[in-house]
């Protein structure tokens, strides 16, 4: 009898141990995946935050630029920089033949003319002098310098020629190649050239989309939730609405994209590819998430609080606005943030409403065409150039950073409210 009991006890303990072991290994697995994922992203992405520059002497010769010795600002704007830009590249190898000159030109980004122009406009006294100027290297050389480029491939399979590599190595030896923080990754819009591509357009696009989404979804969802939870009679009709809100939350996001395409673009003729349309589409997706979160946190407010307020002579409206809603706010806000985070990472509906178009301008308002961060990741991941590989990871890092900041923000708000209310 006693023995049996002991056996049973031992069994119970061992089953608990087994369970704990399984639980711990599950957590371990999850952490392992996470660590692997983060390691992969960081190790491929961190180089995107650096950019390679060639330091090239440029002769700002007034004559070549068709300028007189004392040009006005407009003259500087209109001057011809092409010749001097080309010449400064050709000067890297005085003996280059025509084909080699062409290769020399391709060692820098096609922006080099503009970079040289900017330099002179910033400092007009350079006119007639020669100065070393930082010029963005081509994306292939950028990758070579970062060590991401397989130099040992046969020349035919490389986009960098042997000649270019030779000149580049010479420059490196002379200390004329420098790696600096890649500010343009954050300030430039997308580009076909990897060395010039930045996330400014998609970042602003995401911000605008999220703001539009928040501005629409939050008030509508909170009002709907408060009405349904605190005021609406409980009958078949409201049950029906509740079921359908839950259904809405389960609808695949691409369906909302089709809705945006069919209604916002086709019927209301809103401007295509804009964060306005993207935000409205995303708000349809976020709406049920916020409604459900808000209703759940309203339900969690103890009825005794409502009774206390009502018994003090507060009207239903006052009870709701003074007590129930403030108490439910932390939950509502965290639900909102979760909904927005989902919306932030959403790609499919935005592709459908045209936010996948190539946009090389930075949007100044929700009405301007833009991409969004996840769509940018998608666009770059599709590109063949090596220079975009690191950009994909870097963009993912920015997106994750964005999400972390949002969550932090939610935590802070939550914390503040909770301190106040309990």
């Amino acid at each position: 009898m006693n023995k049996n009991k002991e056996k049973l006890l031992a069994k119970r303990y061992s089953s608990e141990k087994r369970f704990q072991f399984l639980g711990k290994s599950a957590i371990f697995m999850a952490l392992l995946f996470l660590a692997f994922f983060i390691f992969k992203i960081f190790s491929t992405g961190y180089t995107a935050f650096q950019k390679t520059w060639l330091i090239v002497p440029v002769n700002f010769d007034a004559e070549t630029m068709y300028l007189d010795t004392n040009p006005s600002k407009e003259d500087l704007e209109d001057a011809d920089y092409f010749e001097i830009s080309l010449q400064s590249m050709f000067n890297l190898d005085k003996n280059a033949n025509e084909k080699q000159q062409n290769e020399l030109k391709k060692m820098v980004s096609y922006f080099f003319e503009r970079e040289i122009k900017q330099e002179l406009i910033n400092d007009p006294s350079l006119l007639g002098k020669t100065k070393d100027i930082y010029i963005t290297a081509s994306d292939d050389l950028d990758q070579v310098f970062k060590g991401n480029y397989p130099r040992d491939l046969p020349e035919k399979q490389r986009r960098v020629t042997d000649y270019q590599l030779k000149i580049f190595d010479q420059l490196v030896e002379q200390g004329k190649v420098e790696s600096k923080f890649n500010l343009s990754f954050f300030t430039y819009p997308d580009s076909r050239e990897a060395e010039l591509a930045g996330i400014a357009s998609s970042f602003m696009g995401s911000i605008f989309s999220i703001l539009v989404c928040l501005a629409i979804a939050f008030p509508v969802a909170v009002l709907a939730a408060i009405y349904l939870e605190e005021f609406a009679p409980k009958n078949r009709f409201t049950d029906f609405i509740e079921v359908n809100i839950n259904n809405l939350a389960a609808v695949p996001s691409i369906v909302f994209g089709l809705l945006g395409l069919g209604i916002l673009l086709a019927v209301f003729q809103l401007p295509r590819s804009t964060p306005l349309v993207g935000g409205i589409t995303l708000s349809l997706m976020t709406l049920p998430t916020i409604i459900i979160a808000c209703r759940a946190s309203l339900k969690a407010v103890p009825p005794s609080i409502r009774e206390a307020a009502l018994a003090m002579g507060a009207s239903r409206m006052q009870t709701t606005m003074h007590h129930t809603v403030p108490l439910s706010m932390p939950g509502t806000l965290s639900g909102t943030i979760i909904g927005l985070a989902q919306a932030l990472g959403e790609t499919a509906p935005l592709i459908l409403i045209g936010m996948v178009a190539f946009v090389n301008t930075i949007p100044g308002s929700p009405m301007d065409p833009a991409a969004s961060l996840p769509v940018q990741i998608y666009i770059w991941a599709e590109s063949a150039e090596r220079g975009f590989v690191e950009k994909v990871s870097a963009c993912i890092m920015v997106l994750l950073g964005f999400l972390i900041v949002m969550n932090l923000f939610a935590q802070i708000i939550r914390h503040k409210f909770e301190k106040k209310w309990s």
């Binding site: 103890p302 206390a308 003090m312 209310w421 309990s422």
Partner: protein, 258 residues
């Protein structure tokens, strides 16, 4: 207040029936409550004491399926009339619940809430005064005067219940309804509240639901005994406890059932 040696009637319930959906919870209740007296409602669990109490400030309105019929006249006015404004009614009829339920706000905000929504204070000073007198009347002032701006949920159970009483009297109600106000409290806190009730009856009419015969005997002047949704017997506490007319009352009071 007495008129010709008889207490004035503050509330009179006439033929009150209450239904929860199809189920009838109260049957034809006729009860008169005397002004500035403590009336205790006793009876076994589920007999409808809380239901009756909640009729008096129309708290049953909150429950969708609840349907109250009959007349409840307070100050010559039937509160079940369509024209009755529940907000005004609840300003006049305060309530204290079984479980202390302070707002999760500061002590000060707890007390000032009622006067604020009813526009009873013109200035911060007036509000401060209301808060102080309410807390003093609820015998809580000395304990909390230094932490008025701390959360009310940080008090002990007994203190919380006195806070709820202070909150209820902050709007100077004519009647205070108490639903088992001491059931979550220890004997010392209970004694404090009972003392308080005795004090409060000078200015307010009090109706208290209780499961403790001893408590009913200690604090009340009148008692009503409920059983299975019916008011079996009511009268002065002395008479009900010493010399009840009905056998059921006798059995309940002597602890034979319930």
């Amino acid at each position: 207040m007495k008129k010709n040696g008889v207490n004035m009637i503050k509330i009179s319930a006439k033929n009150v029936d209450v239904f929860y959906g199809k189920k009838q919870a109260l049957f034809n209740i006729n009860l008169e409550i005397e002004e500035n007296q403590v009336t205790a409602l006793i009876g076994p669990s589920g007999c409808g004491k809380s239901t009756f109490l909640r009729c008096l400030n129309r708290m049953n309105d909150v429950i969708d399926i609840c349907n109250v019929q009959g007349e409840i006249v307070i100050n010559d006015f039937n509160i079940n009339d369509k024209g009755c404004d529940v907000v005004r009614l609840r300003e006049k009829i305060g309530m204290v619940f079984q479980k202390p339920n302070p707002f999760p706000k500061t002590l000060y905000e707890n007390i000032s809430y009622g006067p604020t929504i009813h526009g009873m204070a013109q200035s911060k000073q007036e509000m401060d005064e209301i808060v102080e007198t309410s807390l003093k009347k609820a015998a809580l002032w000395e304990e909390v005067k230094d932490r008025l701006h701390e959360p009310g949920t940080g008090l002990s159970g007994g203190q919380q219940q006195r806070l709820c009483i202070a909150r209820a009297i902050s709007v100077q109600p004519e009647v205070i309804l108490m639903d088992e106000p001491c059931s979550a409290l220890d004997p010392i806190a209970t004694a404090q509240i009972e003392e308080l009730i005795d004090e409060l009856k000078k200015e307010h009419t009090i109706i208290i639901v209780t499961h403790s015969m001893a408590q009913a005997a200690r604090v009340s002047q009148n008692t009503g005994f409920f059983h299975l949704g019916e008011l079996i017997e009511h009268g002065s506490t002395d008479k009900i406890f010493k010399n009840p007319e009905n056998n059921k009352t006798q059995d309940y009071i002597t602890g034979r059932f319930g």
